[in-house]
Assembly symmetry: C2
Homo-oligomer: 596 residues x 2
């Protein structure tokens, strides 16, 4: 292998014209003119055209080349004639005149086309079902677009590491074989062979270990780390996923904001995006719920939720009256300027009767603003005063569409409208392309109601904003946490908190969550103990790598930026995993499979 | 938290004298002079002395400070009087005059001393059993030496990543939840909840995935990755370990040698070691076995094994004659100049009757060269010609000790002498300190005899040096592999090979290993299929990170360079893992524990 002299196909440039180069790669496409043979030669860097002349002693061999054959070619870099330049290739003004050819390996006809561009630069269609792609992932990965995803993922993670190193973070590996957490229902377990009947668990996150590193004085820690969650199947989830996990001591929220804003800027700048705000806006959890219906607001467009409960407090419209009499709320939004796109039929049949029930709603009220008037199937039930107040409250103008959802369940109103807002914005194509709108969601509640009492909204290691000593359940539910989420374009990219560093406060939280002293000791004894030996104030955050990289590269599914993902069934069609194993293996591990 | 203004204790220097600095850290030690209070303040960067004057309003509070309290101190950098300079601290010419003090957290008395240096710079003894250290790992990690290990590990791995990135390698993550391999006896298994009765396995290495990345055209891959092996307990093994895994296409052995030599140079240069040879010597497997008794030669010292079978071919010494008559061998080594250290009593009682049987040997013959003569308890059985030949063959001189082992089992002779050589070199203290002697061990055999037929010496994806078509078992056993190990100071730091890229050759290997066509399909079907679609020539290597970092930092145990290792029993005393889990968890996973 003459690797020392190697040139890369996609990096050849006109300065090299006249030089002889050594290329290695795959035959992307062949065009046999009879008197001349052309191939597109592909390697990880790109494609270059190679021409074989019939007088070459290896011409007969060249004519045997087929797609995906692996070759070594030595050739001279030449300028193409002006009329044969291919503007769709980086190297389109050049071609390689082959001086030697060695076929390093042959290839059977692939189950799908690897080549993404034809000889004229035309984009070749690619319609292959995902399980076929995953079964032949090694061929799927040979496609230039997939190679770009992995190359860029690597480059982006290098930027993360360089950036955090510059900020004095050190990378520390935490265990993969660790302890099952008490809320371990979603833990993957690993039976131990040498400790019969005992199990390791794969970490859902390195939360406790990174806090222990802070207790251990390591000051600033990060890790790009695999985490595991045995969740029910969902289309865009993977049983194993990667996060940038970080934690720092002697800091507060402002450190995390400033650190992450710098990192996000650098990552986006790498992909050519430079319009992000210098500092990211903050939005409280309450405001986000109120205006956007959820805690991951998409700020690329308006369509904020507006409450109109008071407008209808004396309404004669029966449905609204009934809901308001039982303490319900009415909220809506102005689909600005969408009247032309959304016919009454769409509004009534597709949305009010179709989409809204799918989102869990009972119904939707809609009005168009046309000819200076509110127009809908129910507007006749509203008083003039109500209509005027609605127009004013909603900032409604000619061509707008107003929609409203009313329900006793305020959380349901927000949930429906939050989803509706995003779905309709996509449908109406009002979301600007290549635009990124980051924000920090802050002031999360500390606790939420759960089946067994109070539950932690984030996790039980999150520091309260105030002192919770002696608070009752109702008061605890009003407490805010020192937690923050980084949200970009409606996706939660990361989240974290300032942690509890006082062991007495940590015990208060566990008690508020309903743990007895014995349960605290059994479940978190080692951790509470650690807090007693001089724990510094500390906090941190975790970023979802798969989702963030997917967003940076503009792909729809995280599986596009993972080399060997599981499919939607948490199954790997390539290796056929998970799989049955031998009874000897199970015997060794002291377990057996129960009757299925 | 005034993190923006923070200074680091260990980085203060005389240029800052007169400045006011904000410090955060732990109280390393307290010295209360009554009229003056001193503390050593410690953070991740080091230690600085802080002085509290009695007129300070916080003096009373300062007197409450105890070891491991967490504090925030603002103070002025001052020069110490010449007679109070502490030459054992980086910051020993300085002290901080405290202007404010905030106790951020208190600490109970730790179970062992965290401080490693007293006020006079004296090194404090540290004798704590390892399970206590691991139970309180967060305190153990606060010790400056342990912090250095983790900080340097992070720095060294950053060097690896930077180096490989410069060499066009991209980092790709391969799955942790993958398929159990057929030789899966040492696989950790992970039961699937959503696929009842099916199991993932944790990877022993990403071997097949990295080869599939080469099939996928990614050209040069690396990953710093956790691997897992459920081995029987051994003192210096961990169930999970980290390796630098790499693979490249269109390369040969020379690429790997040159790449790794550059990397090893850079890593050692970081630790101040610059004496490594520009290129590392190569030694064949056969030569290494013959001269050093194993395939990981420690080249820091001589004491090569020398065969003397022929010297005794007509001997009248009965023990040798019997062994030689049954086809045995006699080999020895010259413990150069060790006669003074090794008395006859040591040679006979401790070594011949003690150590050698422990190493599996039946006996050892020894001679000292004293007063120009061979002197031992059996030398009277040797002829003058034999003695003269021995002296000459062994290069023996006054003051040397010659030892010999004879056995029918040639492998046993090598095994005994190989271990004996290293143990005795340590005992005789002939190994130069801070010296590193790397080499490449090459020309490994492809196959070895195993219980069921032939076994692969490395793994079945290693390329033979020649064509193995049609070879019988005996001929196969003589074949060499395109495999290489990187050995430094007698430790295997890494190993790899040029892989098979021809699917027909891959099938030949599987057949030679005794697999039927059905077994090949069942176990490796997907992989052999991948090889058929245009696989480039490729090869790679894996480096053991824990061992290499341990060597670079000069520590005895890999547990010194792992943040949260398991103990010698594959158990974590900190989190008490592995542990029993609830029957609900097992039910969810469709498994139960068998009777123990």
């Amino acid at each position: 292998m003459n690797w020392q002299q190697r040139a890369y196909c996609g990096e050849l440039d006109s300065a090299q014209v006249g030089q002889t180069v050594q290329l290695f790669g795959w035959v992307d496409a062949v065009r046999d003119h009879g008197h001349l043979l052309f191939i597109h030669l592909r390697d990880v860097s790109g494609i270059v055209q190679v021409v074989f002349h019939p007088e070459a002693p290896f011409y007969a061999q060249a004519r045997q080349l087929r797609s995906e054959f692996v070759v070594s070619i030595v050739g001279e870099v030449k300028t193409r004639a002006a009329d044969t330049v291919n503007p769709h290739l980086n190297t389109g003004t050049l071609e390689i005149e082959a001086k030697s050819l060695e076929i390093l390996n042959q290839a059977q006809t692939p189950p799908f086309e690897v080549s993404e561009k034809g000889f004229s630069g035309e984009v070749l269609p690619f319609k292959v079902d995902e399980d076929t792609r995953l079964t032949y992932r090694y061929l799927d990965l040979r496609r230039p677009s997939m190679q770009r995803h992995l190359v860029e993922r690597s480059a982006l993670l290098k930027i993360v590491r360089d950036y955090l190193s510059e900020a004095r973070f050190i990378e520390v590996e935490t265990p993969v074989l660790t302890k099952s957490t008490p809320e371990g229902a979603r833990d993957y377990l690993v039976p131990s062979r040498v400790h019969a009947g005992h199990f390791y668990a794969l970490p859902q996150s390195p939360q406790l270990f990174k806090q222990l590193l802070m207790v251990g004085g390591l000051d600033r820690y990060f890790q790009i780390v695999k985490c595991f969650r045995d969740e029910d199947l969902r289309p865009n989830r993977q049983p194993e996923f990667t996060q940038v996990d970080l934690e720092a001591s002697f800091i507060d929220e402002t450190f995390i904001y400033s650190l992450l804003e710098g990192l996000i800027h650098r990552l986006f700048a790498h992909t050519g995006v430079t319009h992000l705000p210098a500092t990211f806006p903050h939005i409280t959890y309450d405001e986000s719920m109120s205006k956007y219906g959820n805690d991951r607001p998409d700020l690329r467009f308006g369509w904020e939720l507006v409450e109109v409960t008071d407008v209808f407090k004396d309404t004669s419209y029966k449905i609204f009256r009934m809901i308001l009499e039982t303490g319900g709320m009415i909220k809506g939004m102005n689909l600005k300027g969408q009247a032309a796109k959304l016919s009454k039929n769409i509004l009534q049949e597709e949305l009010a009767k179709g989409l809204i029930p799918k989102l869990g709603g009972k119904g939707m009220t809609w009005m168009k603003v046309e000819n200076g008037q509110l127009d809908s199937n129910i507007v006749q039930f509203f008083s003039e005063a109500e209509k005027a107040a609605l127009l004013s409250r909603m900032g409604a103008e000619e061509g707008d569409v107003l929609i409203f959802v009313a329900d006793q369940d305020r959380a349901l109103v927000h949930s429906i409208l939050g989803q509706f807002r995003v779905i309709m914005a996509q449908r109406c194509e009002i979301i600007p392309e290549n635009t990124f709108a980051p924000c920090w969601v802050v002031d999360f509640p500390l606790f939420e109601n759960s089946a067994h009492g109070l539950g932690a909204v984030h996790h039980p290691f999150t520091q309260p904003q105030g002192d919770i000593t002696g608070l009752d359940r109702e008061a605890l539910l009003t407490q805010k946490a020192r937690a923050y989420d980084l949200v970009i374009n409606g996706e939660e990219v990361g989240g974290g908190s300032i942690r509890i560093h006082s062991w007495t406060q940590q015990e208060q939280i566990f008690q508020a969550l309903g743990y007895t002293q014995a349960q605290i000791e059994e479940r978190f004894g080692f951790f509470v103990r650690a807090l007693k030996y001089g724990t510094p104030p500390h906090g941190g955050l975790a970023l979802g790598v798969d989702r963030l990289v997917g967003m940076l590269l503009g792909v729809a599914s995280i599986r596009e930026v993972i080399a060997f993902p599981k499919n939607r069934m948490a199954y790997c069609p390539l290796t056929e995993s998970p799989s049955p194993v031998s009874s000897e293996q199970l015997n060794d591990l002291h377990i057996r499979v129960t009757e299925l």
